[in-house]
C-alpha cells in the first residue's frame, strides 16, 4: 500500500539536542493526521523537514513517493503549507497575495484569476478580495493563508498550528472550513496542534509527540479507549493524610490514581459511584472535599497517560524563539 506521507526514523538534531528523534509513521490518502504535543515537542521541526524547509539529520521522508531530500522541488509542487507565522503580505490585498503566490507556482493568465476567485470564495473572502491584509482580523488572515496554500491545487496540506492565536469563534470557523475543503478537494492533511479539542474534532489519527519522540499513535477514539477507566475525576481534599493515595486506589471501580500537587486524578470505570465513595471515605477520615470534577476520558487524559505529564505543564517550556520563526532549539 502506498501512502501520501511516509516517515521513517526521521531525526533532526541541533548540536547535542535532537528536536525530532527517530520518528516513523505513514499517512494514508484522504486522512487528517494530527501531531499533538506541547511547544518544543518537535512538531514544527517535523513539519519543516517534511516541507523541505529544514534538512533532516538522518532518516527518510517521502511525500507522494518523492524523497524530501533528493526531490525537494517535486515535493514542493504537491504540498500546500500553512506555516505557524502569518506570512501574508499585509501591504497587499488578499487577491494580490494570492496572485503572486499563483505566479510563484507558474500559474498565469485566466487560469490564475479563476483559481484565485474560486479560492477566495471558498474561504468567504470574496468581498474582501481587494482590501489590504492589514485590515483583516486574525481569523480572516488565517483563512487567506489556507486559500493561498491551495492556490496550486496540492493534494497534501500541511498546517502548523492553524488556529493558534485565534478566538474561539474563528477557531471553529477554521475547523469547518478545513473539513469542507478536505472533502471538496480530496486533500490529505497533516497538521500540528497543541489543542486537544482541535485534534479530537479534526483528526482521523493522532500521533502524540513528546520530546521529539512518538509516544502513541491511533485514532482519537482508540487512544481514549486505551486509557484505563471511562471517567476521569479530579479531586482535592482539605488535607492529605499519609497513605491517602493508597486509600483512593483501593476504592471500588478505581483504575488508577495520580497525584499532582494536592490534586488527585482518578481513572474510574464508574464515575458517579466513585464520587459517592470519595465523599464517604473523606467523611470517615474527617476530611472535606474541597473540589471535585468528573469528565469522560479526553485526549488530555490520553496525553497524561502516555507522557506522564499534562500538556499545559510544558507549554512554552524548552523553546527558544528566533524572531517570528519560532525555531525549536532548546
Amino acid at each position: 500500500m502506498s501512502f501520501d506521507v511516509e516517515v521513517e526514523n526521521l531525526t533532526k538534531c541541533f548540536g547535542d539536542f535532537c528536536a525530532v528523534n527517530g520518528l516513523s509513521f505513514n499517512v494514508e490518502h484522504g486522512e487528517v493526521f494530527g501531531l499533538l504535543g506541547p511547544n518544543g515537542a518537535g512538531k514544527s521541526t517535523l513539519i519543516r523537514m517534511l516541507t523541505t524547509l529544514v534538512p533532516p539529520t538522518s532518516g527518510t521522508g517521502r511525500i507522494n513517493g518523492f524523497d524530501i531530500v533528493r526531490s525537494p522541488n517535486q515535493v514542493r509542487r504537491c504540498i500546500g503549507v500553512i506555516p505557524q507565522a502569518m506570512t501574508s503580505d499585509q501591504d497587499l490585498s488578499a487577491e494580490e497575495n494570492m496572485g503572486i503566490f499563483a505566479k510563484l507556482y507558474g500559474i498565469t493568465g485566466e487560469k490564475r484569476r479563476r483559481i484565485v476567485r474560486e479560492l477566495l470564495a471558498a474561504v468567504d473572502l470574496t468581498q474582501w478580495a481587494d482590501k489590504p491584509v492589514k485590515m483583516f482580523s486574525g481569523g480572516m488572515r488565517r483563512r487567506l493563508e489556507i486559500a493561498r496554500g491551495l492556490v496550486h491545487q496540492p493534494n497534501i496540506f500541511f498546517l502548523d498550528e492553524p488556529t493558534t492565536g485565534l478566538d474561539p469563534v474563528s477557531r471553529v470557523a477554521v475547523w469547518e472550513m478545513l473539513t469542507r475543503l478536505k472533502t471538496e478537494r480530496d486533500l490529505t492533511i497533516l497538521m500540528t496542534t497543541h489543542y486537544m479539542d482541535e485534534a479530537d474534532k479534526l483528526c482521523d489519527r493522532i500521533a502524540i509527540v513528546d520530546h521529539g519522540k512518538l509516544v502513541a499513535l491511533d485514532s482519537p477514539l482508540k487512544l481514549k479507549a486505551s486509557v484505563p477507566g471511562k471517567n476521569t475525576l479530579e479531586v482535592s481534599f482539605s488535607e492529605t493524610p499519609a497513605g491517602w493515595l493508597q486509600t483512593l486506589e483501593s476504592l471500588p471501580e478505581v483504575a488508577g490514581v495520580k497525584a499532582e500537587d494536592h490534586i488527585f486524578r482518578i481513572s474510574s470505570d464508574n464515575g458517579p459511584r466513585t464520587v459517592v465513595e470519595l465523599v464517604e471515605v473523606a467523611r470517615h477520615a474527617g476530611l472535606t472535599v474541597t473540589s471535585l470534577s468528573v469528565q469522560s476520558t479526553t485526549l488530555d487524559d490520553v496525553f497524561v497517560h502516555y507522557t506522564g505529564h499534562q500538556l499545559r505543564d510544558t507549554l512554552q517550556s524548552n523553546v527558544v524563539y528566533s524572531s517570528a520563526h519560532m525555531y525549536e532549539k532548546r
Binding site: 524547509l53 534538512p55 514542493r76 506555516p83 502569518m86 506570512t87 503580505d89 501591504d91 494580490e96 517570528a324
Partner: protein, 370 residues
C-alpha cells in the same frame, strides 16, 4: 522568469503602497547635498578685522585704503579701526574680531627708505579656513601695493597662464555625484538590507521557500526589485540635484541616457553587494547597526567629498575596492564634464564585474532552508 517577476511585482506593489522608506533614501542625500554643498562651497564673507595704525604716514594710509577697498568690494572682511593694539588684541582673544591688521610705527619711514617695511596680520588661527582666507586676501593685495613702474610690454621672464577647460565647479556640484551614489546606496540599504531582513524575520520568506522557486530566481528577484527602487532614487537625485546644484544643461537627452546607464549599473552593484552582506543575517538589528559603519567606510573614501589622491595609503586601498569610488568617478565625468561613455567605461566594467561576483557569491551562500 515568471517567478522572478512575481517577486519583483510583490516588492514594487508594496513600494507603491508605502513609498516612505524610499522617499527617506532620496531626502537624506538631498539634504546632505544642500547643507554640505552650501556649507563647504561658499566664499568667506564679512570677517571682522581690526585695523591698528601706529604710523599714520602716507604709505600706511595707502595700505589702509586698499584694505578698505577689498572690504567694500569683495566683502571678505569688514574693517574696524582701533586706536591701540592692546584693545584690538583683547577683542581678538574674546572672539569679537577674527584678526588684527597692525601697522607699526616707522612703517612709512621704512617704506621710503626701502628698509624691509613690515606690517602684521595677527589672526585667530583656531579656524584654519578663516586664517587661510585672510592670508590669501592680504597676499593678493600686496602685489598691487608693491607695484613698481610698469614693466616693458614684452617681458623677458617666463610666466604661467592657467586655462580652465570647464566652467567653474562650485562645491555643491562637486558633491552631487557623491550624493547621487549615496541615494542609491541608502535605497539599497533599506530595500536590500532592512526590508529584506524584516521580511525574513516576519516569516514572509518561509512562504517563498515552500514553493518550487530556485535559489537563483529568489536572489535575482530580490536584487532586481531592490535595484528598481534604487534606480528611482538615483534618477530623482540626479534630476533634482542637478537643478539645485546648477548643473549646466541638466536635461540634455544624450547625457541623461548616459546617466541612466550609470544609475542602473550602480544600483545593481550596490544592491547585490547589500544582499551579499545580508545573505546569512537573521537579526533585524544587524542591517540597522551596519548602516552607519557602511556609510562611512564606503562614502568618504570614495572621493565623493575630497580627492582620493589626498588620502593616506590605507584609505587609498579601501578606495580601490570600494564600488562607490567608481560610481562617484563616473557621475563626476558625466555631470561635471559631460563626457561620453568611453570616459566611464572602466567604471562600468568594474561595477559590472563587482555585481556579477556579488550575485554569484550571494547565490552560493544563500540557504534555501530555514
Amino acid at each position: 522568469m515568471h517567478r522572478i517577476l512575481a517577486i519583483i511585482e510583490r516588492d514594487l506593489r508594496r513600494f507603491r503602497r508605502s513609498p516612505t522608506l524610499v522617499m527617506v533614501s532620496i531626502i537624506m542625500p538631498l539634504v546632505q547635498l544642500l547643507v554640505l554643498g552650501n556649507a563647504f562651497g561658499g566664499k568667506l564673507k564679512h570677517l571682522v578685522v581690526g585695523v591698528v595704525d601706529q604710523d599714520h604716514g602716507l604709505p600706511a594710509i595707502k595700505l589702509k585704503e586698499m584694505f578698505q577697498a577689498v572690504a567694500a568690494n569683495a566683502r571678505t572682511f569688514d574693517t574696524v579701526p582701533y586706536i591701540d593694539q592692546a584693545t584690538a588684541l583683547k577683542d581678538l582673544r574674546n572672539g569679537r574680531i577674527n584678526a588684527v591688521l597692525n601697522i607699526p610705527p616707522q612703517f612709512s619711514r621704512k617704506v621710503f627708505a626701502g628698509a624691509n617695511p613690515r606690517f602684521a596680520l595677527i589672526e585667530d588661527n583656531t579656524d584654519q579656513f578663516i586664517a587661510s582666507a585672510l592670508e590669501g586676501t592680504l597676499n593678493q593685495m600686496l602685489g598691487p601695493y608693491n607695484q613698481k613702474p610698469p614693466p616693458p610690454l614684452i617681458s623677458a621672464d617666463a610666466s604661467l597662464a592657467v586655462v580652465e577647460i570647464y566652467p567653474y565647479v562650485p562645491y555643491i556640484q562637486y558633491l552631487l555625484p557623491g550624493s547621487t551614489v549615496l541615494a542609491i546606496f541608502v535605497s539599497a540599504m533599506i530595500g536590500g538590507g532592512i526590508i529584506f531582513i524584516d521580511d525574513k524575520a516576519r516569516g514572509l520568506h518561509e512562504g517563498y521557500l515552500v514553493t518550487p522557486i530556485s535559489k537563483f530566481e529568489l536572489i535575482m528577484g530580490f536584487n532586481l526589485a531592490g535595484a528598481m527602487k534604487a534606480i528611482i532614487a538615483g534618477a530623482v537625485l540626479i534630476s533634482a540635484g542637478s537643478l539645485i546644484a546648477g548643473i549646466p544643461d541638466p536635461f540634455n537627452p544624450a547625457r541623461l541616457a548616459r546617466l541612466l546607464l550609470l544609475v542602473v549599473v550602480t544600483s545593481l552593484a550596490l544592491i547585490s553587494f547589500m544582499f551579499l552582506l545580508m545573505v546569512r543575517v537573521n537579526d533585524p538589528l544587524v542591517p540597522r547597526a551596519m548602516f552607519g559603519v557602511l556609510n562611512t567606510v564606503l562614502f568618504f573614501p570614495s572621493g565623493a567629498v575630497y580627492p582620493v589622491s589626498a588620502f593616506p595609503a590605507w584609505m587609498k586601498v579601501i578606495a580601490i575596492a570600494d564600488p562607490f569610488t567608481y560610481a562617484v568617478h563616473g557621475f563626476k565625468e558625466l555631470l561635471l564634464k559631460n563626457t561620453g561613455v568611453g570616459a566611464i567605461a572602466y567604471d562600468l566594467l568594474f561595477l559590472g564585474i563587482f555585481t556579477a561576483l556579488s550575485m554569484l557569491t550571494a547565490t552560493l551562500l544563500f540557504k534555501r532552508t530555514l
